[in-house]
Amino acid sequence: MKRYIPAYAGTVTVYIFIESTDLTPEDIAVRTYEIAPRAMVKETCFGLQVTGKPEEVDGIVAKIRAFDPAHIFVKDRGFPPGDPRRCRANLGGARPGFHGHEFELSLIGNVSRGLEEDLHPTGVAVPDATHGRRPPLPVERLKEIIEEEESAHG
């Protein structure tokens, strides 16, 4: 076994996802360099990865989020950017974790709408979301679907 000496020990890395029609990852990257000259910033197709001391990264996240609060999302990352154990330049194919992000980004517009309502309430009725399960398909509706299919192909 080989001795392991971690790179970037004592730092944190965060993903910053930008799903905004007003900002691009490039805009945010330039602003991040302006406000945090010591942090390591990597621009990606979906946003940024920022690595630095925890308090520095927290400050950057707070300032970046303020640019478009309902459309900028932040998540911790375990690996630093470009780590050969995770970077797809070394592995080929999608980066492990990409498909999870891809799935959530397909729904994130709905969360942005929820955040807009949270930030600037328009008074729409808020349904209850705490049931925690999709309602089961009623038997009557299942019978209707079967009959529709049978009559269509029948």
Partner: protein, 149 residues
């Protein structure tokens, strides 16, 4: 600030909302970061050593596969540290091999039996569900105290 365990443990949406509303999200990234940043012997890709399945015995019995116990060595301490949890049920992305799938089942079981506040949700597929989703999380986190206004 309250420590809130999120499930799926890699969820971007939950991690963001918990932090945005002033609390600390506990997920897999923190456990992985701890291993990646600790010096020792090289054990790629995740620095999981043969010691991890032994640590996992604290949360899973010895006849449980080592893949589950190894994963529990990462997630178990975070469940112990958590004061509350948010679970997204029927999450399409939370699937996997026997190790991942059984660990996920064990995680949900441990979260529900710990006796702490747990919020159960599903992913929002419409804008109305998105409004309800964010409102439910804000209300839940507000009830824990110590968060952002």
């Amino acid at each position: 600030m309250v420590k809130v365990f999120i499930y799926p443990t890699t969820s971007l949406i939950l991690s963001d909302l918990v932090k945005r509303f002033g609390h600390e999200p506990l997920g897999s990234a923190l456990g992985i970061r701890e291993r990646i940043q600790t010096a020792g012997f090289e054990s790629p890709p995740l620095q999981i050593t043969p010691e991890e399945p032994k640590k996992g015995l604290h949360w899973a019995a010895v006849e449980v596969p080592s893949g589950v116990r190894g994963r529990m060595a990462i997630m178990g301490p975070q469940i112990d540290a958590a004061d509350a949890a948010i679970i997204i049920n029927d999450a399409d992305l939370a699937f996997g091999c026997m190790g991942c799938a059984r660990t996920n089942e064990l995680l949900i079981y441990l979260l529900r039996t710990k006796g702490m506040p747990v919020l159960n949700l599903i992913y929002p597929t419409t804008e109305e569900e998105g409004i309800a989703f964010v409102a439910a999380i804000r209300k839940f986190l507000g009830s824990l105290g110590g968060g952002a206004p």
